[in-house]
Each structure stands twice: as C-alpha cells, then as structure tokens.
C-alpha cells in the first residue's frame, strides 16, 4: 500500500519513509522486496524511533511537514481493512485526509497537535532502559538474564506493546500465538483497549457502506491464525 502511495504522491512532494521496528535488517526485507519498495525502507533494531516519538505499538503513522513539524498526532494506520471490526480502523478516511493534505487542500489536523500528543512518564522511560538492557543481553546470548529484563520492562510499561509484543520473537514466543491473545485478553479485562485509532480516524458506519468488511472477532482471528499456521499477523505488516 505504501509503495502505491509513494508512486502516486511522490510527484506531489510526499516522501514515504517506512521504519520496521525489528530485530535485524533481515526481518522486514521479505516485505520490502515483495512490495518492490522504492521509497526508503528503514530498520530500527534499537527502538530509537519508538523512544523518540513515544510509540507504544505498530503500525503507527506520523505526518511531518516541509519544516519538519509533526502536523498530526501519531495514529494507528493498518494497511488492510480486513480486521476493521476489531481494530476500528478503516483506511478510507485517513487516505482521503492524507491526499488532501499532500495537495495542500486541507490542514493536516483541525485540533491542537501538542495538546493531543501523549508523552511518556519516567516509569515508561525506565522500561525503555530495561528493554535496552534486555535486548543487549539477548544479543550476547545471555537469555535468562535478558528474559528477566524483558519481563520487567513490560511490567513498568504495560501499555507499550513495542516492548511487550515486540520482544516476543526475541524471547522465542510466537507474537501471533496464544501468548499474544492471552496478553491482549488480560489487557482488555483490566478495562483497557488494544491500540485503537484516534477518535477522528476510528471507523464509522459510512466506512462500511463504502467498503463492506467481514465481521471479525479476536476469537475468530485466533482460530484463523491457528488454521493457517501463520507465524505473523499480516494486519500489522506494511508493504
């Protein structure tokens, strides 16, 4: 999807810059190659962008203008509408808004970007330090020590799924397997939502009229992943 947008909007001055928050340059390469991506396809093995932008999950989009200003609070942006009934994300509205902003027809965001931007607390930053220690230990092969710090990082920042889910492949846990569904279930049972779009982006009835989507539930998604034997949740993959 981003390659198509790159081809469509680069002539109008838009740069599509993708960043894979992954373990190595090899992790995202199959997706980048399958998409035939000609835009810069970066890899962030140290969670640098997640730290700088206070990202707590993927897929996340940030719009930046010619002067380097963030012009819209970061938001969820799935490339597929397949999971809309779970994710509450449908790409119709965001893509209309993106094209309109690129053409200079409408402002990127009607509200106060700074006021609507979430910032981390010190416990969250400590979690990022714990993650850094865990990831370094893991790369040294000190798996048990790494595991303690991954777990601690997740406890310090239970809302940060770049840590909790992003660490799963490093720890030998299937990020789309039972542990993932258990984690989301626990999170939801405490009254939390799992990575919903901003209110102005979230799906509304007219999205479904324009492009109907299959009703999906977490249980059906879990069953489908089991049946397909898929290791990854394709809804979070960009290209």
């Amino acid at each position: 999807m981003w390659q198509a947008l790159h081809e469509e909007l680069a002539p109008l001055g838009l740069v599509v810059l993708t960043v894979a928050i992954d373990r190595s340059l090899d992790d995202p390469r199959p997706f980048v190659e399958a998409a035939g991506a000609t835009h810069p396809s970066l890899v962030d093995t140290e969670h640098r962008v997640a730290d700088l932008y206070n990202m707590v999950n993927v897929p996340t989009v940030v719009w930046i203008d010619e002067e380097g200003r963030i012009v819209r609070p970061q938001d969820v942006h799935y490339v597929s509408n397949e999971m809309s009934s779970i994710t509450r994300f449908h790409n119709r509205k965001p893509l209309v808004a993106l094209r309109s902003w690129v053409r200079g027809e409408t402002p990127a965001y009607p509200g106060d970007v700074a006021a609507d931007t979430k910032v981390p607390d010190d416990a969250h930053q400590e979690a990022r330090a714990a993650f850094a220690v865990a990831w370094w230990l893991s790369q040294q092969g000190r798996t048990e020590a790494a595991e303690r710090w991954f777990a601690h990082a997740g406890e310090l920042a239970p809302h940060d799924f770049t840590i909790r889910r992003g660490s799963m492949p490093i720890r030998g846990i299937d990020p789309a397997g039972p542990a993932f569904f258990q984690m989301v279930g626990d999170w939801a049972s405490k009254g939390n939502s799992y990575y919903l779009p901003r209110p102005d982006t979230a799906t509304s009835a007219d999205d479904y009229e324009v492009e109907p989507v299959e009703e999906m539930t977490m249980e059906r998604l879990r069953q489908r992943i089991e049946q397909d034997g898929k290791g990854g949740d394709t809804s979070t993959v960009q290209e």
């Binding site: 001055g13 740069v15 599509v16 810059l17 993708t18 960043v19 894979a20 928050i21 340059l25 992790d27 995202p28 390469r29 997706f31 980048v32 810069p40 396809s41 890899v43 962030d44 140290e46 640098r48 962008v49 730290d51 700088l52 932008y53 206070n54 993927v58 897929p59 996340t60 989009v61 940030v62 930046i64 010619e66 002067e67 380097g68 200003r69 963030i70 993106l98 690129v102 970007v113 700074a114 931007t117 910032v119 010190d122 930053q125 400590e126 990022r128 330090a129 850094a132 220690v133 370094w136 230990l137 020590a145 710090w149 992003g166 799963m168 492949p169 990854g232 979070t236 993959v237 960009q238």
Partner: protein, 127 residues
C-alpha cells in the same frame, strides 16, 4: 578491573571500573564535572559535598541529572534512558525528532535529509 556495558539511550559504550560498583564519567552523558558541579550548556547541578573527584556512582549520576537508570550488577550492564520530561518537551515543541537509521540494504538515512518535503513516517514490524 571490571568492564561494564553502559547504554545511553540507544548508544552502547564500554566502561572500565576498578571497584564493584559502576562509576561513570559524567562526560559520557554530556555533563562536565566542574568545581560548581555537573555542567551542561548554562546549567550546573551541585554535586553533594564529599563526593570523590572524577567519575560518579551511576545511581548518583542518574539521580542528579534526572536520567532513568537500570543496572544489572551480575551481568555488568546498565542503561540510562532519556528523561520523560525531555521527551515531553521535545514532542510538545511540535518538531519531529531527528534520527538516523539504516535501510534494509544498510544505507543510512536521516529524517532531516527530507526537510523541504512532506514526510509520512510509518512504523511497522514483522511481528
């Protein structure tokens, strides 16, 4: 002599110490130790009286300069995170934080390379 790995945000350093505890040269984190304390730009933070000259105990240094710190003494690794207040100030300034990362071919790119154009920054993962 003990060799520690000290991570400052995402930068990895090696620090050698003589004792059991981690002692860090404040310069590693961008602070100069002067008679008036730890100084950076126009700011100086007093160091408690009686603190030995030179490097500082990592926990004391972290507390003085407001850096979240985790230490694993068994594994001899520590990490200082950016202060939450620093991240908050940066994000609320409205400017997109700059960064440099490799692409899938290993070629480095900076966000600021694209100044003058609109950018859609899209973070995703294979997980």
């Amino acid at each position: 002599m003990t060799t520690w790995t000290v991570i400052d945000e995402q930068r990895v350093h090696t620090v050698t110490t003589t004792g059991d505890t981690l002692v860090v040269d404040p310069a590693l984190l961008g602070w100069d130790r002067k008679p008036e304390g730890l100084c950076r730009d126009e700011v100086c933070i007093p160091v408690p009286a009686g603190t030995p000259a030179g490097g500082l105990d990592a926990a004391l240094l972290a507390r003085l300069v407001g850096r979240p710190l985790v230490i694993d003494s068994d594994e001899q690794v520590a990490a200082f995170a950016a202060p939450a207040a620093e991240r908050a100030t940066a994000l609320r300034s409205g400017m997109a934080p700059d960064f440099e990362l490799p692409d899938v071919h290993g070629v480095l790119h900076r966000l600021s390379d694209f100044r003058g154009k609109k950018v859609v920054l899209y973070a995703y993962a294979s997980w």
